[in-house]
C-alpha cells in the first residue's frame, strides 16, 4: 500500500486522467470519498476514455449510445445507479443524485432521463459522428457481430428485424454463452 488517501481503478492509459483527478481531489480536506469517485468517473465520461465510457461510444443496434453507472458509499452501503440512461452525459452524476435524492437504488431508461433533467442535468444526443459511422459500418457488414440467438432471419448473416424461432426439444442453453466468441467491442 502506498498509503492513504488512495484511488484505484480499472485500466491504465487514458483512464489515468480519472485516477489523477480523483486522487488530487482527495488531497483537499473538504473532498469525500464519494466526491472523489464521482469526479474520477465523470472525468472519464467527459474524456470518453478509450471509447467505452461516456457519450459517443458503443452504439446499440439502433445506433444510440446509452449509459450505465453506479456509485456506492462504503459506510452506509447505500448505492445509487442508472441503467440504459438516454440523452444525459453525466451518468455517474445522475447515479449520485439517485443515491442522495431518493431512497431507491436504480432508475432506468427514459424515466431515469426524466429524473436527471428534473435534477438539473442537461439532456442532448449521446451520438457523435464517430459513433454514427461505426454503427453504419456495422450495418453495412450485415450487422455482424450481434447478440441475437434463436431468431429469424439468421442473425449470423442478416440484420433484423428479427422474430423468435421455436426452440428444438433438445435445446440446451448451456451452449449459448459458453461457446460464444467474445467480440472485441463486446465488453463493458
Amino acid at each position: 500500500s502506498p498509503g492513504l488517501p488512495l484511488v484505484i481503478n480499472t485500466w491504465g492509459g487514458p483512464f489515468t486522467a480519472a485516477t489523477d483527478a480523483a486522487y488530487l481531489s482527495l488531497l483537499e480536506p473538504q473532498t469525500s470519498a464519494l466526491d472523489a469517485v464521482e469526479l474520477g468517473c465523470s472525468t472519464c465520461e467527459a474524456n470518453q476514455c478509450d471509447g467505452s465510457v461516456g457519450y459517443g461510444g458503443s452504439p446499440d443496434e439502433n445506433c444510440e449510445t446509452t449509459l450505465d453507472a453506479m456509485i456506492m458509499d462504503g459506510g452506509s452501503m447505500k448505492s445509487g445507479s442508472v441503467a440504459a440512461l438516454r440523452r444525459v452525459r453525466n451518468a455517474i452524476g445522475v447515479a449520485r443524485a439517485v443515491l442522495e435524492h431518493t431512497t431507491h437504488t436504480m432508475l432506468a431508461g427514459d424515466l431515469a432521463t426524466d429524473f436527471a433533467v428534473a435534477n438539473g442535468f442537461a439532456a442532448g444526443s449521446l451520438s457523435t459522428g464517430a459513433s454514427a459511422a461505426a454503427c453504419a459500418a456495422w450495418r453495412a457488414a450485415g450487422c455482424q457481430p450481434n447478440y441475437r440467438i434463436n431468431v429469424t432471419p439468421d442473425p449470423a448473416s442478416s440484420c433484423g428485424p428479427y422474430a423468435p424461432t421455436p426452440l428444438p426439444p433438445d435445446y440446451d442453453d448451456d451452449d449459448d454463452d459458453a461457446d460464444r466468441g467474445v467480440v472485441p467491442e463486446g465488453h463493458d
Binding site: S1, P2, L4, P5, L6, V7, I8, N9, T10, W11, G12, G13, F15, A18, T19, A22, L26, S32, A36, E38, G40, C44, S52, V53, G54, Y55, G57, S58, D60, E61, T65, T66, L67, D68, A69, M70, I71, M72, G75, M77, S79, S81, A84, A91, I92, A95, T105, A108, A134, C143, N146, Y147, D177, A178, G181, V182, V183, G186, H187, D188
Partner: protein
C-alpha cells in the same frame, strides 16, 4: 468501463462504475456496470472492488461482492480477485474479465481472464499514477 474505488484519509471508502456498455447491443440491454456487487462494491470495514469485462456474464456472478466477502474472510486482495475470476472461468472459459481489489489499508491486487488486464492507482505521496499489468489466468 471505468470502475473506481477511493479511500479517504479518514478510512471512508466509496466505489463507482461508469460505462457505455457493449457495442451493437440489443436496445435496452444493461450490463454489469450499474449492478451493485458486479461492476463495483465497497464496504469501508473491509475494502472495495472494481470490475470490467463481458458484463452479460459477469453480472451473473457478482464478482465484486464475492471479492469483498473473500477479503472479509481473510483472503489477500490478489487472491480475492483471482478467486472471483476463477468462479467465472469455471462456467465460462472464454470470459473476458478484469477485477481489481483493494483492502481498507490500501493493499491491492488484480486478476483477469481473456486479455491482459491493467489497473491504475495513486496514493499516499505518489507523484504520479502507477499502472499494473495483470497477465490473464
Amino acid at each position: 468501463t471505468i470502475s473506481m474505488i477511493a479511500l479517504h484519509r479518514s478510512g471512508a471508502m466509496a466505489a463507482g462504475t461508469s460505462t457505455n456498455g457493449a457495442g451493437h447491443k440489443v436496445p435496452g440491454r444493461v450490463g454489469d456496470g450499474p449492478i451493485t456487487g458486479s461492476g463495483s462494491y465497497v464496504d469501508s470495514d473491509v475494502g472495495g472492488c472494481g470490475a470490467t469485462g463481458d458484463g452479460d456474464i459477469m453480472m451473473r456472478f457478482l464478482p465484486c461482492y464475492q471479492a469483498v466477502e473473500s477479503l472479509r474472510r481473510g483472503m489477500s486482495p490478489r487472491a480475492a480477485a483471482e478467486d472471483a475470476v476463477r468462479r467465472m472461468l469455471r462456467k465460462y472459459p472464454a470470459v473476458q474479465s478484469g477485477v481489481v481489489v483493494v483492502d481498507r489499508e490500501g493493499r491491492h491486487g488484480g486478476a483477469g481472464s481473456g486479455w491482459t488486464f491493467t489497473y491504475a492507482y495513486r496514493g499516499g505521496a505518489m507523484g504520479e499514477t502507477a499502472v499494473v499489468s495483470v497477465p490473464p489466468i
